[in-house]
């Protein structure tokens, strides 16, 4: 038995994490997935219905349209993040890595939104952008540009962009710290040859660092995708359980929440007869959407390596 493990040291490295993770993460997910095969409101008895919930979900026109709407918003977050946020994080990380003056301040300041809890962030944004009492509009008025004032937070078409801005603003520091760490991991000898060649500041970034941290970037892309599909707080706080006016800030995770838990509010209301059944069904669909994409990325990236 000992030689079995001796030949496979990786097993012992992976075992502790594997055990804890399987018990506390995988098992609950499997248990929840099973619930999607039942009709259940969380309180009464469960009725087995096989794949009925799934069929119902995709046949119900209203639900399908909600799903597409939420999906489009989640994907929007993902794409905007990859196009705009990740490059900015890389550039900022590079500056910090290169120890520009003020780097400590940059790190703390850019990361600081993470320290503040989401409702407080939204409240402060509201104070800034509110139509009547917001600072931004007041400022515009005071410099005589009153006609430029807009109800920043209320324009329905802008809704999702505002959510995205808030999310990006809050998460800017996270990606940045990742990239700083990743850049610090680049072996010194790669750099030395570049200096000897006389490569400039930006040239070094593009020719040396980017290829070295390519995998990190791809990983961040995947994380952004997962994130877009699972982000919840901002849409919920800005648009309520229904996802805003005409569901303009609805995202996948909020859609799920609404189905599974949406019937609780201070006024009372009715609980849905199949809240748990349908809720877990949507969660499983959501899971598959994420899983398949993740699988594809991992297979492609790994193929490149080996």
């Amino acid at each position: 038995m000992l030689s079995f493990f001796k030949k496979r040291p990786y097993l012992l490295f992976i075992a502790p994490g594997f055990i804890l993770y399987t018990i506390l993460v995988i098992y609950p997910i499997a248990a929840a997935a099973v619930i999607s095969l039942y009709r259940w409101n969380g309180i009464g008895p469960k009725t087995f219905v096989g794949f009925n919930n799934y069929i119902e979900l995709f046949n119900n026109k209203d639900m399908v349209s909600q799903l597409w709407n939420a999906l489009s918003h989640s994907l929007m977050i993902f794409i905007l993040t990859v196009i705009f946020v990740i490059p900015v994080q890389i550039i900022m990380a590079y500056m910090v890595y290169s120890k520009v003056r003020g780097k400590s301040f940059f790190q703390v300041a850019i990361f600081s939104p993470q320290f503040i809890s989401t409702p407080v962030i939204i409240f402060i944004f509201t104070l800034l952008l509110d139509a009547n009492i917001g600072v931004v509009n007041k400022f515009l008025e005071s410099i005589g540009q009153g006609h430029l004032t807009k109800p920043w937070l209320g324009i329905p078409e802008f809704g999702m962009y505002i959510v995205w801005i808030m999310i990006s603003w809050a998460g800017m520091g996270v990606g940045m710290m990742f990239f700083v760490g990743a850049m610090k991991m680049v072996p010194v000898d790669c750099l030395e040859s570049a200096y000897l060649d006389g490569a400039g500041f930006w040239k070094r970034l593009i020719t040396i660092f980017l290829p070295q941290i390519k995998v990190t970037i791809l990983n961040m892309v995947l994380i952004s995708y997962i994130f877009g599909m699972t982000i919840f707080d901002f849409s919920y706080l800005l648009g309520g359980t229904s996802g805003g006016i005409e569901r303009n800030v609805d995202v996948m995770s909020l859609f799920f929440y609404r189905m599974a838990f949406g019937d609780t509010n201070p006024l009372g209301g009715n609980i849905s007869q199949n809240s748990m059944g349908m809720g877990t069904t949507i969660a499983c669909v959501l899971f598959l959407m994420i899983f398949i994409i993740a699988l594809i990325q991992l297979l492609i990236v790994y193929r490149k390596e080996e």
Binding site: R8, S104, P119, V174, F178, G181, K184, M185, Y302
Partner: protein, 275 residues
């Protein structure tokens, strides 16, 4: 090595200063509000305050025994962070450095945790903890949070995989065992990225709301996010305390951040073989 050249760099630096100052001023604004009285915030939201005082903070410490929440959050943070770092590094190392069948499968396996909403799977976990008699005990929260290694494992695996092979082989030839090699040589080489992960996971653990909500049922065990939510739920009537609680919550995380972020940058980047 640190010569920054060019106009572009200057422009970027300038933009970063502006962005940082704006972001930082939001933090300052929150701190400033925490010193105002409720009446002042409601009636005079944007004006100059009549007076500033520490009343909100006094209330939090005396009436609410804020230090208790603080201690609870701290305990959970320390233990969770240690476990997460240890478990995720070991796992990432195992997956990253060794070639074995099911390696790809294992990577995906560990990523699954990010893909499912945590509220749905809570009941089986709750029953588990109930049977272990760990309800209303920090250990339940610590164990659950420590199992959330999906992201760290995912990010760390490639870094461990890319550590130079020569150093590894040299250590083995010198007679060090697998574990010693990992612990004394390979793991320290990944310090920058491990510290980055530590920072990010610290924030996540510190701001965790759902698990403490479900598992910490007595006031004596609750954590800081719960007290913040207590005051942000009815924000208008308790805005002053919400601000003050948020400020207090920020301080320890800020300290951790400063400590770790400096360490990421210090020292030379992982060196090549230097003889």
């Amino acid at each position: 090595m640190n010569k920054h050249q060019g106009f572009m760099a200057l422009v970027i630096k300038g933009l970063m200063w502006i962005y940082s100052l704006i972001t930082f001023s939001i933090l300052i604004y929150m701190i400033y509000n925490s010193f105002r009285t409720r009446q002042d915030i409601l009636s005079n939201t944007f004006g100059m305050p009549k007076k500033l005082n520490l009343d909100n903070f006094k209330k939090l410490f005396v009436n609410d025994h804020f230090y208790r929440y603080f201690l609870n959050s701290a305990v959970i943070l320390v233990f969770s962070l240690i476990l997460i770092t240890l478990l995720s590094s070991m796992t990432a190392y195992g997956i990253g450095r060794y070639k074995f069948k099911f390696r790809k499968f294992t990577r995906i396996y560990f990523l699954v945790g990010l893909m499912f909403p945590v509220q749905l799977g809570i009941v089986p976990i709750f029953l588990l903890m109930k049977n272990l008699n760990l309800i209303n005990n920090h250990a339940s929260v610590i164990l659950i949070l420590s199992a959330g290694i999906s992201m760290p494992v995912f990010m760390l695996t490639d870094f461990f995989a890319n550590l130079p092979n020569e150093i590894y082989e040299a250590a083995i030839i010198d007679g060090a065992g697998e574990w010693k090699t990992f612990y004394k040589i390979m793991f320290p080489m990944a310090k920058p990225i491990v510290f980055s992960i530590c920072i990010i996971m610290s924030v996540q653990v510190w701001n965790q709301f759902f698990m403490p909500l479900i598992f910490l049922q007595s006031e004596a065990y609750k954590t800081i996010p719960l007290i913040i939510v207590k005051y942000t739920k009815n924000l208008l009537s308790t805005m002053d305390l919400a601000m003050a609680a948020s400020v207090l919550s920020t301080v320890p995380i800020l300290i951790i951040f400063v400590i770790f972020s400096e360490r990421i940058l210090e020292g030379v980047a992982t060196g090549g073989v230097k003889g």
